[in-house]
Every structure is written in C-alpha cells, then in structure tokens.
C-alpha cells in the first residue's frame, strides 16, 4: 500500500553526504581564511579548532560501513586532516601513518574479495588498493593525494625505497630497471580534480612539486656528506631548478656553494652564495658558508667579516613567520646535524668561532673583545636565549674561559685576564679532587670533572703569565709554582682507557698534561732567567726536557741557558739530540692540544731557533 506523498518531500532534501561535503568545504575555506589573516597564538587555536572539525567529520564518515559513493569524500577529509595535522605539529609521525592505513582499509572493505587480508602492512595495503582502484575511477584523485602524503611521510622518515616503489606503482611502470626516485616523481601526474569535487587544502600536483624539490635536496645533501660531489651537484641543481620557497632556495644555494667550494670552484661557489644572500630571508647559512670559503682561499679579513655579519644576523630574533599551514619542503628535510652543510649553529657557537679565529689569526684585540662579549652573554641572567657553544665539536665552558683569558693577555689586558681566571677558579675549585688524579670514571656524571685539575692549573698558568705582563714577578712565580704543584699531583691513570675516551674531547688529556707541565716549567724558568736566577731557571728547563722529551722548545731554552752559563759539554749534548730530533719528522703534532695551550706554547717558543742552532753549530765546529 503506497502512501500519498507530501508536497514537502519533493523538495530536494540534503543528504548526509551533501551535509558532510558542505562541512568539509566550509572547514577548508575557514582554514584558508585563518592562514591568510591570523597569526600567533590565535591562529594556532583556530587551526586546532578546524582540525577538531575535520576529526569530527571523519568520525561521522567512518561510523558508517565503508561504501563506494562515500569513499571519495572520506579520503578527501582524511587527506585534509593529515595535511592540517602535519602542518600544525610541523612533522609527520605515526598518527598520520595510522590515518592512512585506516583509509586504505576502508577502501578495501568495499571490495569484498579482499576482506580477509586486512591485517597486512602499509606497503601491502597500498599494493592491494592500487590494484583495486582501477575499478573505482571516482576514487583516483583522492587516492593519488593520499599516496602523495604517504610518499611525503616515507620520505621524511628516510624510507626512500618504499617511496620509490609507491610512485612506481602509481605510475603503473613495472620495470625494475631504475630506482631513480626523482624520475618517478617527474613522471607522476596525478589526475586533476573535477570542478565539483569537495575542497582540499593542498592538491596532489602541489604536493608532487614539494616532493620533487625535497627529495632532490635530500639526495644532494646526502651525497655532499658522503663526499660524492659531482652527483651532489647534479641533484642540487635539480632542486634549484624546481619550484620552491625562498628559505628553501637559500638552503639549496648554500648547499651548492658548499659543493662547488669543495670541488675547487670558489668563484662559482661565491656566485651561488651571493644569490642566496639576495634571497633575503635567513642569511645565516650562506654567511657561514662564505666564511668557510674565504678561509679556504685565505682571505682572513673577509672571513672574519662574514662571521661578524653572521653573529649579528643570528642575534636578530626571527620575526617568526607563522608556521606554514601546508606541507612544505622544509618539513620533509632531515634535521640538520652538525655534519650537515646546512647546520648553522647557535649564536654563541658562531661568536666563539669568530673569537677563536681572531685569536688564531693573531687579531688579539678583536679576539679579546669577542671573548668578553661571549662571556657576558653567557653569564648574564637575561641571556636565556643564548646557549653555550658546548656541543661536542666545540670546547666546553672552562676552555672558553681559558681562551678568553689568553686573548686578553695577548691583547695586553692582563688585569682583565686575571679577573677571568679568578672567576673560573672560584667556580670550579670546589670540584677539585683532594688527591687529583686523571681518571676516567665510568659514571657519566664525573667524566668531564676529571679534567678539572687541568683547567684549574691552566688558569694558574695564565694568571702567572698575566702577572709576568704586569711585571709582578713574585706573584707570577708563585702562580707558576701552584700550577706546577697541582700538575704534579695529577697522575695520569688508566692510560689504556684514557686514550679511547679522550678522543671525544679532541685532546689527549695525557698529552695536555705533559705539555702543560712543560709550559709551566718553561714559563717559570724564563721568569727565573729574567730575575737573574739562572741556576733555578736551568733546573726548570732541565726538568721540562725530562718531563716532555719530545718538546723541542724546552730543549732550545735549555741549550740557550747552558750556553749562557757556558756549560759547553752539556750544551753540545743537547744540541746533538736536538739536531737528531729535527731530522725526524715532527711526531705527534700539536693537533690534539686545546687552543689555549697551543697559543700559549707559541708564546714561549724561543724566537730565533734557527739562528741559535746555526750559531751553536759554528761555535761547536770552530774549535774542532
């Protein structure tokens, strides 16, 4: 029995599908609006709300049994949800993988014959879905977008093989001949959306471009690190020629500059770096690369200038751009580790690099200023935005203090150097062992503390040197003495263990200890000499030669003093030994010594070794 129809029923009543589609479109429009207009906290909150909206629609859709007419909308909403979520959290994670998996299972649920195989991995799921999807042409645009997101996820987690496989399957090419991800990306042409389709936040074509740039850049960086420079160059040029945003372009140009510099083309490298700087946004990276380039070509002034600019650039807080709402190339790049050419470091690291370069290149005044700047920044309570340069490649804080004191002495500011050393001593002396002993403790907490005696004695050494500069000999000698006391109390222990674990610090604590002892003895000896107490000086020089037989400076000083005291026999013995040593290649170069010690040793280097040797030779040979 049929019932009479109502007039109202003939009017088009919106179906649930239309309602949901309408909600999706509204959310997409709202998201675009928010992207364009809002910023900061409010934007974040609004995007969070929109995300919840998408989640709601998705839950409604997934509450129903999977059905072919609903699937395109469901996949679209899933894609929108993932895109917004990724841009909000600035990265892919397992949640998104689960979203994709859920969506694929829903597609398969509509295909009954595939029901029992639902517990397979992502790759198998994609395989099944892509083979089914030929049956469902309406599904293709959304499915391609989802595949693009999957590729982005795999790319960002370094699953390059999976990414290449997925794209190959999407393209429908079965040849296993080439594994070139870039080629697959280029040949992938996602089907265009119909005009009446529900709205999406980022279309597959745009995603493809992002993927192309990101994978080219990734490959280029990878090859830069492994040192295959020609391959890196071609990949990076590929990245540079694709569409990308300004910050990404800066990164690409910098990487190109790095590559060309290492290939021995500084001129071309410079061109790229200038181009990168012209792009404007974050100019830290190209400036750092430029400093490396100038250092390589030996233009110290330009190198220091670019480092200064870099430090300034980093001190300006980014007027932080609002996080990109869409999936961007930057999201797919690996986090730069210190080995990467795109690792810029923090402001303090750059400041320290600048200061130490000044010190190394003999610009003591500038070095002193930069070190003082650095210490002020680090120690001020307000410097919460400023971290110490103590990442593994850099020196630790006590060494920064020592370098600063050294620079100050070199710049003739002995009083300031004393203050810096005093500060270091007051903050570390309570960590000194009662019976100092170089010991590598297995426990992590005490490992670096074993270096404490070294730092403290070095501080005393520098204080002594500062007093020397101030011509207060008594104090200088007492500082050298207390330095030596500490150094001789410190015993290198567990040599076999020490060698292995010390490499991290970049210096051998054993070698450092030896050289420190020699340096302190020589310094005290020199001071005795200046005081006219030649025998005491001779004692110290002798001791230093015994302590550090490989240390030639000690022998020179000994030779000189012996000559001065007219003890020819002993002098000639030393001379023969020295001559033999010079014949040998310099064993164990000072590579492993920390900067402060290296510089200090250069101070006590006798000024005219060659002439002394020749003079002595003639004086020896003459009587014979």
């Amino acid at each position: 029995m049929s019932l009479p129809t109502f007039p109202g029923a003939s009017a088009p009543r919106a179906s649930c599908l239309d309602l949901w589609r309408e909600r999706n479109d509204r959310l997409v429009r709202r998201a675009r609006e928010v992207m364009a207009q809002e910023c900061g906290l409010r934007r974040q909150q609004l995007i969070q709300d929109i995300l919840e909206g998408f989640r709601g629609v998705l839950y409604s859709l997934q509450g129903l049994p999977a059905a072919v007419p609903l699937l395109p909308l469901e996949l679209t909403v899933t894609c929108n949800f993932i895109i917004l979520r990724v841009s909000l959290t600035q990265g892919f994670n397992e949640d998104q993988a689960q979203c994709v998996q859920q969506a694929l299972k829903r597609v398969l649920e509509t295909q009954e014959q595939l029901g029992p195989r639902l517990d397979q991995g992502l790759r198998e799921l994609w395989y099944s879905v892509l083979h089914v999807s030929s049956l469902l042409p309406d599904l293709l645009p959304a499915l391609h977008l989802l595949a693009g997101l999957q590729a982005a996820h795999w790319l960002s987690t370094d699953h390059l093989g999976d990414t290449a496989w997925l794209l190959q399957t999407l393209n429908g090419t079965q040849s296993r001949a080439s594994e070139d991800l870039l080629l697959f990306l280029k040949t992938w042409s996602p089907p265009a959306l119909e005009s009446d389709a529900s709205l999406i936040l980022q279309d597959a074509q745009g995603l493809r471009n992002v993927l192309l740039t990101a994978s080219a850049l990734r490959q280029g960086l990878q090859e830069l690190i492994t040192g295959r420079l020609p391959k890196a160059l071609s990949s990076l040029q590929e990245a540079a020629s694709s569409l990308c945003s300004r910050p990404v372009l800066v990164q690409v140009y910098t990487a190109l500059g790095n590559c060309l510099r290492r290939m021995g083309n500084p001129q071309r490298a410079l061109l790229y770096l200038i181009a990168a700087l012209k792009e404007g946004s974050a100019c830290g990276l190209p400036l750092l690369e430029a400093s490396r380039l100038y250092r390589q070509v030996g233009d110290t002034t330009a190198e220091l200038e670019s480092l200064e600019l870099l430090a300034e650039a980093l001190s300006v807080t980014y007027n932080s751009e609002a996080p990109q709402i869409l999936i961007e190339v930057e999201l797919l790049l690996p986090r730069p580790d210190p080995a990467s050419p795109l690792h810029c470091g923090t402001q303090s690291q750059v400041k320290h690099l600048l200061a130490s370069r000044c010190l190394q290149t003999g610009r003591a005044e500038a070095a002193a200023e930069h070190y003082l700047d650095l210490l002020a920044l680090l120690l001020d309570g307000s410097g919460s935005r400023f971290s110490p340069p103590s990442c593994p490649p850099g020196p630790c804080m006590p060494e920064v203090f020592l370098e600063a004191a050294l620079a100050l002495i070199e710049a003739g500011r002995a009083q300031d150097a004393l203050t810096v050393c005093e500060e270091l001593l007051s903050r570390t002396s309570f960590l000194l062992p009662k019976m100092p002993r170089m010991r590598e403790d297995v426990r992590k907490g005490t490992k670096e503390l074993s270096h404490c005696p070294l730092w403290v004695s070095a501080a005393h050494l520098l204080q002594g040197q500062a007093w020397v500069q101030l011509r207060v000999q008594k104090k200088a000698i007492s500082e050298f003495t207390s330095c030596l006391e500490l150094l001789f109390r410190t015993m290198p222990e567990d040599k076999d263990q020490g060698a292995a674990s010390n490499c991290e610090q970049g210096c051998r604590s054993g070698a450092t200890l030896q050289h420190l002892r020699a340096a302190a003895l020589i310094s005290r000896g020199l001071e005795w000499l200046a005081n006219g107490q030649d025998t005491k000086a001779l004692q110290d020089f002798l001791l230093s030669v015994q302590m550090c037989p490989g240390h030639r400076d000690a022998s020179f000083h000994l030779l000189q003093t012996l000559k001065k005291l007219n003890r020819r026999d002993e002098a000639s013995a030393i001379w023969w030994r020295l001559k033999a040593q010079i014949q040998l290649p310099q064993e164990e170069a000072t590579w492993s010594l920390p900067l402060y010690l290296e510089t200090y040793l250069s101070w006590i280097h006798p000024p005219d070794c060659e002439t002394l040797l020749e003079e002595f030779q003639t004086s020896i040979t003459e009587p014979c």
């Binding site: 019932l3 906290l41 397992e94 919460s384």
Partner: protein, 882 residues
Amino acid sequence: MAGTEPRVHYLAGFSCPLGGLAAGKPRVLCHEQEVFLSTGSEFVYVYDQEGGLLTAVYRFPDQVWHLQLLALRRALYVLCARKGIYCLSLESPTRRSSSQTDEDKDSEVSSPVITVDPEACVLPDTTLCAFTVHDDVLVALVQGPAQWKMQLFERPCPGEDRWPGGLVGEVELSTSTPPAGAPGKLTSPCFLPVLCCVSPPGSRVPRGHPQGCGGFMLEEALFGLLFGADATLLESPVILCGLPDGQLCCVVLKALVTSRSAPGDPKALVKILHHLEEPVVFIGALKTEPQAEEAVESVLPCEDVYSDCLVALGHHGRTLAIKASWDKSGNLVPELREYCLPGPVLCAACGGGSRMYHSTPSDLCVVDLALGGVPLNSEQPQSDGAPGCLPPLLCPASLSICSVLTLSVLSRTPAGGTELLALSTKGCLMTCRVDLNSEMPGPTRMTTENAGQKIKELLSGIGDVSERVSFLKKAVDQRNKALTSLNEAMNVSCALLSSREGPPPISCTTTTAWSRLQLQDVLMATCLLENNSDFSLDQGWTLCIQVLTSSSALDLDSAGSAVTYTIPVDRLSPGSQREVTLPLGPSESGVLDLPVTMSYTLFYSLKEVVGGALAPSDPLEDPFLEEQPLDLLPEQEGICLPLSRHTVDMLQCLRFPSLAPPRASVPCPLGPAADLVDTFLETCRAPGSELAGPAALRAKYLPPSTASIRVSAELLRAALEDSHSGVPLCSATLQWLLAENAAVEIVRAQTLSSVQGVAPDGTDIHLIINEVAVTDLCLAGPIQAVEIQVESSSLADMCRVHHAIIGRMQTMVMEQAARGSNPPDLRVQYLRQIHANHEALLREVQSLRDRLCTEDEAGSCATAQRLLQVYKQLRSPSLVLL
C-alpha cells in the same frame, strides 16, 4: 618514633567524587595567608587561611593537573588537561573575572565561581603533561607519540600573545617505552611526569617561593657533580625530570636553546641520572648536614639553605638519594643509595631540613636522612671533613594521618616543628603540626598540661583512623546492599518470567475516568501496580508505562505518538499496591487519538544498584583500579520485564450526560479544549436561533453515519449468562459493552437497551441494541440475533466505536469457540454469496485508495465520496456472528 606529635586542624572541605579524590593530580600551594588548591577537577580554589573562607573559585574548561605560583609577580600558572597552560593574575581577582556564572549569584559573598576566560590561555597545547616556571622561562613537557619532548619558552605573561615566537628551544627525551595511551587518542594518564628546577648556589635569580616554584638550590659540589662543569660555570639552572617510566634525567637550561638550523641533540643536552623502574612521583632536595644547617639557620632565612642531597620517590616507594662524597682516592663521587619506603606513595614533600614527608593511603610518614632514624649510624666512623654518608636504612615514622593526597610544607614553627598543609582523599584541607624533637619525651616526663595536649592529639589521630574505618565500612555496606538487591531482583525476575498460567505475581490493572482539570475535561488512566509475589520491589526498580496513541485516520503520515512515563517503584513490599494516575488526553490540540495502548514494563537498573558499589571504594590503593569498575559493569544498563498491555478504546471513553443523576446537575460536558470564544458565541446566540455551528449543521442536514453488527442471541447468551443472568439480553449486551465505563451502573439500574452518549470531542454517539430475527441464513429457520447499531454524526467517532465493539466481539467469539459451542446449520450457498460480495467491495476499496493517491483534487473528491459509500456498505453486513 615516639616523638611524633601531630596536631591536625581541619580548615575546609571540598567536594569530592564518590570514592574520594584520585591521587596524582591534586595540588595545594600556600602563599602568605592564601592557599591555592586544586582537587583534580576543573576548579581551582583560593582559600584565605586567616579569614577561614574561600575567596575565589576559578573554573577551567577541563581537569586541572598542575599549579605553580610566581609569588613575586602574583601570577598563578595552571595546567589544564588537554587545553594548555593558563596564567591568572592574582592582583585583583574580582576585576579580572570575565564572566560570572549564574549558578552562584546568591552566594556570591562567599565564593563567586569565576569561569576562566579562554584568553587567559598562554600556551595552548593538547598534549602538555607537565610544566615548571623559572624566572623568565617556562619549561613544558609534551607527550609525543613515541617520546617526551621538553620545550623551553619565554615565560608568557597574561594577556600577551608571544607564542609560538616564544619557543626558545626543544629537545626530545629518549625513552625506551612509549608513553601510555594509544597514539592519536588523548587519554588521561595515570601518572604525570614530575618537573623541577634546580638552581646552582649563588645564582642571581630572584627567589620566588620555593614550594610554589617547585624548585630548590643544591650546594655546589653536588650540583657540579650531577650536572657538570658547564652548568656550574654558567650558573645555569637545571631542569630535573622524572618520567612515569622511572627515568630521571636532567637538562641544563642555558644549553637548551635550539633553532631550526641547529636542532637540539638529545645526546648532548639530556643526561640520564638514574632509572627508578617505577613511576617517579616526587623529586626533592634535603639538607642532611646537621651542623651546617644550624649555622645557616642562624644567619639566613631557611629559604636560602642549599640542599646537599637530592631525593626522588617512585610510586611503589623506591627512593633514590644522591649526595656528593669523596672516594678513597679523594675524588668527588656521587653517593647513590636506593631505599624502599612503604608504598604506594601518593605524594611527598621536603621540609627545610633533612626530613621528607611522604603519604600512603594508610599513613603519613616522615623519614630523616640525616639521622636515618637509626642510632646505629653514629657508630660508623666518618672520615673527618668529608660529607657525611647517607644512612644505610630509612626508618619511616608514622604521623597517623591517612590518605593525604597532596602536601605542602608551610613553615617551621619556632619550637622546631614543621607545619604541613595537606588535602585528604575526602577533600579535607588541613594543617598538621609536626613536632619532631630530637629528645624523645618519655612517659616519665609527661606533665599534666602536656598530657592533656597528648590526649587531644591521640584523639585527633583516632578520629583520623576512624574516618578511614567508616569509609571502608560504608563501602562494605554498599556492596552488601547491592548483593541483596540483586538477589531480590533475580527472584522477582524468575517469578515473573516463569508464571505462564494463573494470575501473574505482579500485575498492573488500568481504569479510566474523566475528570476536570483546569476548565478542561481530561481522561485519566489509573494504573494499579499490585505485588502479589513473595518478594518486594526495592531500590532500582522502575515502572515504565508506554502510552502509544494510534495514528489519526485523517493524518496518514503520523505514526502515532508514544510517551513513556517512568515511575520509580520505591519499595513495594509483598501484598501492597501502588496507584499511578496518568492523563491520557486530549492533548493541547484537543485531539484524543483512540484507541490508546498502554504497555507496562518493569525496569531494573543495574547501574543504580551495582554502579555505586563497584566504584572504587578506596582509589588510593591503586590508581590502576580506577578503570576496572567500568569494565566490570555489564554492557546493558539494566533488565526489562514486560508486565501487561492495556488498550483504552472509545467505549471506555464515552460519557452519558443524559444518564447522569439530576441531583448532580453537572453541566453538559464541554468539549475538550472548549474555546472561550466559542463559548462566548454560544451564549450570545439568541435562544431558538437557527444559526448553529458546523457540527449542528451537519447533524441537521447530513444523515448520521451508522454501522451495525449482528450477533446471534445464542452466542451472546452463552457468553453473558454467568454475569448477566436474569437481565434482558439487549440490556445485558449493553452492560457488557460498557463494562469498563463509569456509566455501567446506571445502565444496569435502568436496564437500558439504548443509550445516547458523547464522544470525547463532543459529538453524539447513539448505541441501540435490539433483537432481530435473521431469516434467510439458516436452513432450520430464522435465527434469533441481536443487532448493535451505532449512529453518530461524526464518521470518525462512529468508526472508533465500531472498532471497539468489533474488538470485544472478537475476544468473545474466540472464547466461545474455545468452549466448543456448535453453530446451527447454515446455508452455505448464501454465505458464499455474501463473502463474494465483501471481497468485491474490498477490491474496490483497494483500487479507490490507489486512485486517491494519484488523482488531482477534483477527481479525488469524487473518489473519496465513493470510498465512503463502499465503507458504509461494508459496515452493515448481512452476516450474523454465530
């Protein structure tokens, strides 16, 4: 220890859910006279200790997980679950209140509830689990899908929009096991991570309230030993973090500056100090050097004491203490010691000295890490000058206060005691004075006045324990009661479901009557629930009455409305009965759609009876239990037992004003929803005027609709003989038909055989019953039959009466057929003829109805006319019910 002298003073009570508050999330802070308190719900209370009253109540959008107070800046930072961090300025709470909720308008004087403005959210993040504020920075711990992430922000101030520009650095904490909860699903974790900020000695940081900030200062040797030379040289604060998986790690705050091009390397930034292998619930610091403590105390206020021992507590009582000491060769080494304290630990606090308080469900204990509680300690030779060793054993001393959920050390009293602020499971805020004197007051030295004091304190201790006893007792009682109730319910269900024949043990009968309510006559149904079983219906039982009106014939679309009334059956003992009266209609629109079906069901709510008993009686015992009661409850919420079904039809609703005894002089029943205007017009009309309403006109000009039913007299007589013997058959039939009507008495008294009644909507209904003889049906001769005629000016009402009569006839015929009475011989040929006629008519009805759906208005009018005629033919059959 015999020297414990707790003195408990109750300050205020706060609402707590059934089964008490849960551990882990409540917080209590104290600043000067103000106490800031959250109980784990969405409220933050501000209590004035001096005045002894609540000064403000803040309401947040979700549970509050953590509080931190920056006393110097008068700002309260609040972590709201799944929302983020809010910052409240405490300067002028009343002015800042953005919107007052209406619920507490009248009690505004005592505690206005201030709904916190969403604008006050300074750091929105749905995954935030812990935070700490230090000086100008805020450190937050975010729960990622596989690891924890520590983020450093510039400290946001209320009303400033600096995020996300304020993000200074972040680093991932390595963790072997992913945090609890499925990815993508935001569940409320059982244990929150613990964050606290450790400052080096002599740092130039302005000191806030130590408890409020959750931070402390460590002496330089321990600080340098634990956190390295860099942190010491930089004088950088260090964030200590205790994770629910037991990991205790630290991050040097000044090193935690990262950027996109220089991301934080966990290996360089995060140092794992220890692994407790059970959730970390507390991190604190103690001063264990007694002589130094005294020296410091005499010079400095106790806030400036540098602690020399770091402690961390796990949920099950495993305790870690770290101190700096020298080894044999003179090296500075950390001395680590693990202890086992009674668990599960609900909360803990460190006082200024060497004492740590920790609370379990059964007791509040204090341990002293300087004494260690063991005199044996003094026998151990200590190398001179070296920091003292940690005690080999800890002896917790009971304070006889149970189930304290959160603690805050208020101050040290001049007498050397400590005052604690505590919140108990039942929501009681109290202060406890703890006097732990080194010399133990023995019984011999007890004077009269301190005996009184002692008795008082013992009494308060007893009171505290008895609170717990009563709590447990209540839980047991509740469960016993639930079991008894379940047993009864089981018996009732069995009795109801197994009784197939005989009167049901629990029955429900219905009578209807008209009564006047507010100028309108309403048909009232009176339901009588009778309990004839041996069991009583107790708490948890509900009588559900579903009133289902039939769809109106005029409105084909509406499927009839159903209203369900639920009436709690509050203790119906065996043999007793309960009456419920329900209005059946007419509804607002004046329509009473008859027949109305009423179905009765008994519902037993499992949730009501069992839910309370299964709720965690003591959630402190183990927070993991929290989730179980929900799983224990069965899927469905209760049991449904259908009782009976009753139909109210037209015959029950007819009224007979003509039969009413004259002395009652009831005015003619007004139509339902008598329109005042109609009444007015009615009265205005000149008497005798022919101008009448449409009903009158119809009555005058349209012939009344009629229907008739013939029943063989023999059949009727057989059916009615036991109840109506000695009454003329026509009258007996009428009485039978109107048996459930109030007018049956008058009909019986006057032995009427025809009656003039009024339908609920006011139209006349005429029931005429007379005896006829049907000649041409039976071979043996004419059959004596009774003809029931229904006449009414309203077709609809006539149909309803007809339907009701047919219904009764059906029941009667079925009963008689069961008795096996023999019908007389019939002329089959004639019957067949009639049957064929009827079939033809039915077919025509079918086709006419189909046409009605498709035709236009003019055509459908004619069709409807024809349809009515056919129906009329159908209604007056020549058949007799035999």
